[in-house]
C-alpha cells in the first residue's frame, strides 16, 4: 500500500532541492518576453562566471565540431542560440532533479534528462514546422521542464510500476496519469506546477508543466504552446526516450489539430530531425559536463 501525499508534502520536497540560480531565473523571464534581444541574454550570462564557463565548454565540445575554438561569449551565444543557453542554465542548477534516478517509474539514471531534452527538441521542431505564432525557443524551454514533477513524486511511487501496468492492461486504470493520482493522490503535472509556482517560472511554462497531458484544460492563451509540448512529449516517447515504465502510457489528445496541422510525412520528418539533433546535443552536454549525463 502506498502512502497518499498532499500539497504540504510536495512543498517539503521542493524545499529540499536547490532554487534556480538568479541568472537562470532572469534568462527564463527574459526569453519568455517576445520583445527581448540577444544582448540581454549575453548580459545575463556574463554576470555568472560558472554559466559562462559552461557555455564556452558546450560550444567547444567535439559534438559541434568547430575548427577554431570560440573564446568570446557573444559568439558562443549567437552560435548556440538562446534556447541552448537557457537549457544549459536550467540543466545546471536543476541537475539534482534532472539527474534523479526515477525509481518510482523504474527509470534509469539519466532517463529524465534525456526524455526532457528530447521533448524540448521535438516541441521546438513541431513549432518550427507549423504555422504557430509562438517562439520555438519558448517551446524548447517548456519542453525541457515539462516533466520536472516526476522527480518530485518518483520516490513515493516506488514498487508500484508492475501493478500499474497490469491495471492499465486490464483497463482498470485509463493511463499512467490516473494511476499516479489513484496511488498517491498527486500526479506529476500538479507536482511540477507546485515547483513552477515556488520557482516563479513564467506563466506560459507553468501552464505547460501543469497541462502537458491534458492540453484542452489549459488556458486559451497558452493552448497552442501546451499542445506543441504535448506532441513533443509523445514524439520523444515514440522515439524510445521515455522515463521508464510509464513511457507511451499516456493519451494523445488528437484535438491538437485545432492548432497544428501535421501530415504523416511531416511527422516522420520531425522525428528524423529530432533524432539527429538529440544525438548531437546529448553528446555536447555530456562532453561539457562532469555529471553522469
Amino acid at each position: 500500500m502506498t502512502e497518499k501525499i498532499d500539497r504540504a508534502v510536495i512543498q517539503k520536497v521542493i524545499k529540499s532541492v536547490p532554487m534556480l540560480s538568479a541568472s537562470a531565473n532572469q534568462l527564463l523571464q527574459t526569453t519568455t518576453d517576445p520583445d527581448h534581444d540577444l544582448r540581454e541574454i549575453v548580459h545575463i550570462v556574463k554576470t555568472d562566471a560558472t554559466l559562462t564557463a559552461r557555455v564556452l565548454k558546450v560550444v567547444n565540445s567535439a559534438a559541434f565540431g568547430l575548427i577554431n575554438e570560440i573564446t568570446s561569449l557573444d559568439r558562443a551565444i549567437s552560435y548556440l542560440g538562446e534556447r541552448l543557453i537557457v537549457g544549459i542554465a536550467i540543466g545546471d542548477c536543476a541537475s539534482q532533479l534532472f539527474d534523479k534516478e526515477l525509481k518510482g517509474y523504474e527509470g534509469e539514471h539519466g532517463d529524465l534528462w534525456r526524455h526532457d531534452l528530447r521533448t524540448a527538441i521535438a516541441s521546438r521542431e513541431v513549432v518550427a514546422q507549423s504555422d504557430l505564432d509562438i517562439s520555438p525557443d519558448l517551446a524548447f524551454t517548456a519542453g525541457l521542464l515539462h516533466d520536472i514533477g516526476k522527480a518530485l513524486i518518483s520516490d513515493y511511487l516506488q514498487g508500484t510500476a508492475g501493478e500499474v501496468l497490469e491495471k492499465i492492461e486490464n483497463d482498470e486504470i485509463s493511463d499512467y496519469l490516473s494511476a499516479e493520482e489513484e496511488l498517491i493522490g498527486f500526479d506529476h503535472p500538479r507536482a511540477g506546477y507546485e515547483l513552477a509556482l515556488t520557482w516563479k517560472l513564467p506563466e506560459a511554462i507553468a501552464e505547460v508543466i501543469r497541462f502537458h497531458h491534458t492540453p484542452a484544460e489549459a488556458r486559451e492563451e497558452f493552448q497552442e504552446l501546451v499542445y506543441a509540448v504535448h506532441l513533443g512529449d509523445n514524439i520523444a516517447m515514440m522515439g524510445g526516450c521515455g522515463t521508464g515504465a510509464d513511457s507511451m502510457r499516456y493519451k494523445l489528445d488528437a484535438d491538437y489539430s485545432r492548432y497544428i496541422t501535421l501530415q504523416p510525412n511531416a511527422l516522420a520528418s520531425i522525428m528524423l530531425t529530432v533524432n539527429e539533433e538529440f544525438v548531437k546535443l546529448e553528446r555536447s552536454f555530456a562532453e561539457a559536463g562532469d555529471s553522469n549525463r
Binding site: L165, M238, A254, M271
Partner: protein, 162 residues
C-alpha cells in the same frame, strides 16, 4: 559475452558463438531480426520510419533508418557472412512498433513501420514466424547467436522471450 549494440537506424550481424545483437528502447521503431540457420548468422536492423522517400540523402547515409532501405542493407551485410543475399532460408522475427495511447492515424508510426517492413519482406518472399508488435510500451531487444532466441524487456515488466 560479446555484444553488438545497435542505435536507431543501425544494422549489424554476427556469427560469433556467445555473442548477442542488441538494441535499446524501441518505441514506435521496429527491430527486424533475421536468423540464418545454415550459416548460424544473426542479423538485426533498427528501423525508425516506414519510407525513405521523405529523405533520400539520409537513406544513403543510414539505410537502416527506413524499412525500404534497411532490409536490403541488412541482407547485404549478412551476405558477407555467406548468407543468401535474397534472404532464402532465413527465419524472420519482428519486435517493437508500439503506439501511444488513443493515437490517431498520423501518430501510428509504429503500425506503419510494421506494415512497411512486411511489404518489403513480402517482396523477398519472406514472412515473420514470430512477432511481438504494437501495444503501448517500449521494448529493449536482444538476440543470441547461439540460440537465435530473442529476449525482450520493458521497464516495469518481467522479461519475456520470442
Amino acid at each position: 559475452m560479446g555484444q553488438i549494440i545497435l542505435g536507431v537506424g543501425d544494422y549489424g550481424a554476427s556469427n560469433r558463438p556467445g555473442e548477442e545483437v542488441k538494441t535499446f528502447a524501441l518505441g514506435s521503431c521496429v527491430s527486424v531480426v533475421l536468423l540464418d540457420p545454415k550459416t548460424r548468422t544473426v542479423g538485426m536492423v533498427h528501423v525508425a520510419l516506414p519510407e525513405s522517400a521523405i529523405n533520400k540523402a539520409k537513406s544513403v547515409e543510414k539505410p537502416g533508418y527506413f524499412a525500404d532501405t534497411g532490409i536490403p542493407a541488412l541482407l547485404a551485410a549478412m551476405a558477407k557472412f555467406g548468407c543468401n543475399p535474397k534472404g532464402k532460408g532465413m527465419v524472420v522475427k519482428l519486435c517493437g512498433g508500439a503506439n501511444v495511447m488513443d493515437t490517431n492515424d498520423t501518430f501510428q508510426i509504429g503500425k506503419r513501420n510494421a506494415l512497411s517492413i512486411k511489404k518489403v519482406l513480402w517482396k523477398y518472399g519472406m514472412g515473420a514466424v514470430a512477432e511481438d508488435l504494437g501495444g503501448n510500451f517500449s521494448r529493449t531487444v536482444s538476440v543470441s547467436v547461439d540460440t537465435g532466441e530473442i529476449i525482450l524487456n520493458s521497464p516495469g515488466r518481467p522479461n519475456w522471450k520470442l
